[in-house]
């Protein structure tokens, strides 16, 4: 019983330090997933996006970012909180 509680606590702690990243279009192909939770390593959105860029080598794709469903013009000077959702949006071309 005691052990179980401990495990739950760990899970909660983990969740508390996570942010959700959603990938769309060609980006989801590069990342091989449409959504993932990553550890919040910094409170700066810029740092986190930098981390995603280097993790998946996204430099060559023009991208837009949304924080909690709001598309942002610049990633500079924006803070990220736990449980925030970042969306990585490329333009589409097909029709």
């Amino acid at each position: 019983m005691k052990k179980l509680k401990q495990v739950q606590l760990d899970d909660n702690q983990k969740k508390e330090n996570m942010i959700n990243i959603k990938y769309f279009g060609a980006i989801a192909e590069v990342t091989n997933c449409s959504s993932e939770n990553i550890k919040k390593s910094s409170s700066s959105l810029n740092d986190i996006i930098q981390e995603i860029y280097s993790k998946y080598d996204l430099k060559h794709i023009p991208l837009k970012f949304a924080l909690n469903q709001k598309i942002i013009e610049t990633t500079e000077g924006i803070d990220v909180n736990i449980n925030d959702e970042i969306a990585v949006l490329p333009p589409f071309a097909g029709g």
Binding site: H60, I61, G94, G95
Partner: protein, 353 residues
């Protein structure tokens, strides 16, 4: 007339809404996958005048998704086939066809003649042209685009609202279209239907158009996400901007900085031993001396930026490619020396976007 009785029964449409549909003039740019989904529903709903512009002919590889066309349509102009089908569906709709592609010379004039524009193209550079011409002409446009099983839909320049440039900023060319990426007919059908629905909403004043909102639909998971975005007030798109921007397209040369900003294919036409060596992901080396025999390595649909050491051989290469039917060509002024200067300056700077 009983024809529209079921939709007029909806109090949001009614006689007044039907009248608005009848008086509306809607231009559909592109009669491909999205266009084939949008057009029959707009015609059936009783849009008074439908303009269709597309310079393409029907190909066999279109038939799985461009459902207005039959096997007998092969090799015929899409706009003519589409017109015949739509007239058979609803003879009261006036169909105006343009057997050409939208370009910087005809865009403003054609768009000005309509109330509302539907962007059903598969080219990002044409999307910018549509955007800018719509802003100057004061028309809203309903955008949709597809990548594999996903689609994006939005309404731009609606009552002076945000535009495509507010959403995606400068030109981003490193994006695959249907031909390159592959697509299901059902995906363009679904996304085109959302687009047609926005058109009817805007004309009849029903519901909330996707202005300042980007809808992203994943047809595999049936997930919908809506992202909001704001008007970029620093952007100024006016006639002067349009003239400067699109007249420039006619010049064969661009600056190295411009060429490096975009992700077009860069073609180095110098001989392989020439210095400085330039390495970029989007760079291809095709020495001028062997260009003609290697021409098959280039895709006519790509935007191609040529450079040599100083900018003279690249203009020669441009002429060769132009004679072979390539259209999206520019030569980079100042050539490799200027390019490597910029790259060296940038090397230190690690930046996002």
């Amino acid at each position: 007339m009983n024809r529209y009785s079921r939709q007029k029964k909806l109090h949001q449409i009614g006689d007044a809404g039907q009248e608005k549909l009848k008086n509306a003039r809607v231009l559909v740019i592109g009669a491909g996958g999205l266009g084939c989904a949008v057009l029959p529903y707009l015609a059936s709903a009783g849009i008074g005048t439908l303009g269709i512009i597309d310079g393409d002919k029907v190909e066999e590889t279109n038939l799985h998704r461009q459902v207005l066309y039959t096997e007998r349509s092969l090799k015929a102009f899409k706009v003519e086939e589409a017109r015949d089908r739509l007239e058979a569906m609803n003879s009261s709709v006036e169909i105006e066809i343009y057997r050409e592609f939208l370009n910087d010379r005809n865009a403003y004039e054609i768009i000005s003649a309509y109330d509302l524009v539907v962007d059903a193209t598969d080219s990002i550079s044409i999307r910018y042209l549509i955007n800018d011409a719509c802003v100057i002409a004061g028309k809203a446009f309903v955008y949709a685009s597809v990548f594999k099983f996903e689609g994006q839909v939005s309404v731009f320049n609606y009552r002076n609202g945000p535009t495509y440039r507010c959403l995606f900023g400068g030109k981003g060319q490193a994006v695959q279209n249907c031909e390159e990426a592959g697509v299901m007919g059902t995906t363009v059908g679904l996304i085109g239907m959302l687009q047609a629905n926005e058109v009817i909403k805007i004309i009849t004043g029903t519901g909330e158009p996707l202005s300042g909102k980007l809808l992203v639909y994943d047809t595999l998971k049936n997930n919908q996400h809506i992202f909001s975005f704001k008007k970029n007030k620093q952007l100024k798109i006016d006639e002067e901007f349009f003239r400067d921007h699109y007249q420039k397209e006619d010049l064969p040369e661009i600056t190295p900085a411009e060429a490096l900003k975009s992700k077009h294919i860069l073609v180095d036409v110098r001989e392989l031993h020439e210095m400085p060596q330039i390495e970029l992901n989007n760079l291809v080396r095709l020495p001028l001396s062997e260009l003609e025999e290697n021409i098959h390595l280039l895709n006519k649909k790509d935007e191609i930026r040529l450079f040599c050491q100083s900018g003279i051989r690249s203009l020669k290469a441009l002429k060769i490619l132009k004679n072979k039917g390539f259209q999206n060509l520019k030569s980079i002024r100042g050539g490799a020396r200027e390019i490597s200067k910029i790259l060296n300056d940038e090397k230190e700077e690690e930046y996002i976007h």
